[in-house]
Each structure stands twice: as C-alpha cells, then as structure tokens.
C-alpha cells in the first residue's frame, strides 16, 4: 500500500517535470523519457490504489500530466530534429565524393559556427 502511494507521488512529480521540460531544447527529448516512465508509474499506481480501494486522484493527475507532456515533447522534439533532408542529402554527397561541397552546403544552413568548424576540418 505504501509502495503504491510512493509510486503515485513519483509519477506525479515525473508528470510535472515532463510538462515543464517538453517546451525546451534538450528538455523536450528528456520529456519523452520522463513522460513514458511517468505514464507507466502512474498507470501502475492507479491500478494498485484502485485495488486497495483508495483514491486515485494523484495517479490520474500524474497520468494526464505525463500524457500531455509526452505529446508536447514529441511535437517539440520533431521540430528540433526536422532537418532530415539536409542529412540525407549530405549522405549522398559523402558517397559520391562531393563531400567538401556538401559540408560547405550544410554550413550555409546551420550558420557560421559550424561553418568555421567545418572549414577548419577541411583545411
């Protein structure tokens, strides 16, 4: 019984962390992990509390927060990761020997910091 309550508290905390983290760079990827763990813990806690005849409000709130946070984390992480086409184009260039021009092309997209690093790498 005590374990189930602890599970619900941890799940609620994870739900809150997920919601907050999901809005930020790096945080959104962390939110995916904490969201999934939070959902699992809250689901187990809800089932355990129900079986013991106790109130499940904390677990339900934690579950909702985890689900919402996970959804936000998924959306935001795809925003940050959505440069797949540039990477794929680079792969093709790397394969056919036009690597130098491909890397320079990437630096144009990503800005001067990577451009400097890539220029240094090619020199």
């Amino acid at each position: 019984m005590q374990n189930t309550k602890t599970l619900a508290i941890v799940g609620l905390i994870l739900g809150i962390v997920t919601i907050v983290a999901s809005w930020f760079w790096i945080g959104c990827f962390i939110a995916i992990v904490t969201g999934i763990v939070g959902i699992i813990l809250n689901a187990k806690a809800k089932k355990g509390l129900q079986a013991n005849g106790e109130k499940t409000a904390m677990a339900v709130v934690g579950l909702i927060l985890s689900i919402v946070g996970l959804v936000c984390g998924v959306i935001m992480s795809i925003v940050y990761a959505c440069t797949a086409c540039a990477a794929a184009a680079l792969t093709q260039a790397a394969s056919d020997g036009t690597l130098e021009s491909a890397l320079n092309g990437l630096s144009d997209e990503l800005g001067s910091e990577l451009g400097d690093a890539l220029t240094s790498a090619l020199s």
């Binding site: 999934i36 959902i39 959306i75 795809i78 959505c82 440069t83 794929a88 792969t91 990577l114 890539l118």
Partner: protein, 272 residues
C-alpha cells in the same frame, strides 16, 4: 504546404502535431479494442508505452543506418567539430525516422513486454497493434505531406510547393501527392483490419496479415517517390527491400501457425 504553425510565439512543426494526434487516437482506439480481451486501461497503456519505446528507438536506428557515411564523417572530424557542431551533425544523422523501423521496433517492444508480463496474451496485443499501425501511419503520412518530406515524383497531377524552408528540395516542382495516396491506402487497410478484428477473422494472425497487405502497397508506391536520397541498393530502395523481407517473414509465420494449429478433424484422423 504548411510545414509549421506558430503557437505562443514558437514555430511548431505540423509533422509533429500529426504524429501526436495519431498517437493519441491510437491510444484511445487501442483502449477500446483491448477490452475485447479483458485488458484494462492501465495494463494497455503500459504495453502501449513498451511499443512506443520500441517504435521510436528502431525508427531512429533504421534511419541512422541510411546515414552511416555522415556518422563516419562526424566521428572522423570529432576533434575539430566538438561539441555543438558534432552534436548537430549526429542529430541530423539519427534525427529522422523510418516507418518500417518503427513498425518492427513497436512489435519487438510488445513481444518483449508480453514475455515478462503474464497479464495479457502476446497474440491479442499484436492483433490490436495490427489495427493501430495503419491508423497511426495515416496521420504520419499526412504530416509528411504538410512538412514536404517523403515527396512524390514530378507529375502533371499534384501540387507545387513554394517556400518550404524545412525541405527545400520539394519547392517549385509540381509533384504527385504520394504521401496523401499512401495515407489513403493506410486508412483503407485500417478499416479492413478493424473489420477482421471485430469479426474475429484470422485471430492471433492479424499482424502477419498486415505484413502481407501493406508491404506490396509500399513496394509499389516507392516507385513514385521523388526523394532519391533515401537510399537505393541494387535498384530498389531500403523500404522496398524491407517490404520483401516482411512478406517472406509473414508467409513463414502463417505457415508456422497453420502447422501448429492443425484443424481438429485432421488431428482426429491421425489418432484413429
């Protein structure tokens, strides 16, 4: 089309929104379908998370497998690119997702979870999975259309996209809306498998049936894809090779099921 929208001052990708909507809808529909097997909401959501973990992991792993030269370059120049440029390159090399990787990973997640959990039968969960996968994929492909990725060949029939800054290679060419065509095919597959599920046709084998239906559709549609950078090996794309593999696998599993579950009439004849 509409790759992004602005929400509270932040640019949000439509692809991410479509994926999120698809996941939520699959969770809702899956909860209803799982009741047929006596699986409660809490147990279903845990196995759903197991499938989600496998889906995301393997979708990225298979994507990374198509970008190995980029990963090699990133590690080759790691001393000059450390830290943010290196992480940016690696992020781009593994940041995309491949549907087949996700499908295989999701299935593996279910198999592994049900191996350790005795609360539900693996075949029942895989049947529910077979219904949900084409539903999720429908939304994924709509997201691809909005984002401008996975685009079709140049065609008189279709749409011309302009000013797509996420996938600029799609711009200014009239293209076949292959993403919407595939979304439509997935929706039809969803309704077919849902009907079979509800009428208990091919119970315990629906995921293998899905592997017989979708891969040939995907194999055909791949010839109408215009994004050449997705990897071509011996004339076929990565997804076409995987399609062939999945069909062979599903035939093998269906034969195995048939041998394992011979009809009672045949079994009675043998005992006489």
């Amino acid at each position: 089309m509409f790759p992004t929208i602005e929400v509270f001052g932040r640019e949000i990708g439509m692809y991410g929104i479509c994926v999120a909507v698809g996941l939520l809808l699959c969770g809702f529909v899956g909860t209803l379908l799982a009741k047929k097997f006596g699986i409660v909401f809490e147990d279903f959501i845990i196995v759903f998370m197991a499938a989600l973990i496998g889906l995301f992991l393997f979708a990225h792993i298979v994507y990374a497998m198509t970008n190995i030269p980029l990963i090699i370059v990133a590690f080759k120049y790691i001393d000059k690119l450390w830290f943010k440029p290196f992480m940016t390159l690696i992020g781009q090399a593994v940041g995309g997702m491949v549907f087949y990787g996700g499908f295989i990973g999701g299935g593996l997640g279910i198999v592994i979870y049900t191996h350790f959990s005795k609360l539900m039968k693996r075949e029942n969960v895989l049947d529910v999975y077979a219904v949900l996968i084409p539903l999720f994929h429908t939304f994924g492909r709509i997201g691809c259309f909005l984002a401008g990725c996975c685009y079709g060949i140049e065609s008189e029939f279709g749409f011309t996209v302009h000013n797509n800054h996420i996938n600029p290679s799609v711009n200014d060419v009239n293209r076949l809306p292959i993403q919407l065509i595939e979304a439509g095919c997935n929706l039809i597959i969803f309704f077919v498998i849902l009907w079979l599920f509800k009428n208990a046709v091919m119970q315990d084998r629906l995921v293998y049936l899905y592997m017989l239906i979708y891969p040939p559709v995907r194999f055909t549609l791949e010839f109408f894809r215009g994004d050449e950078y997705r990897g071509i090996y011996f004339g076929l794309s990565t997804s076409q090779w995987i399609s062939i593999g999945l069909v062979i696998f599903s035939i093998a599993m269906l034969i195995r099921y048939h041998i394992k579950h011979k009809t009672p009439a045949i079994q009675e004849e043998r005992t006489e």
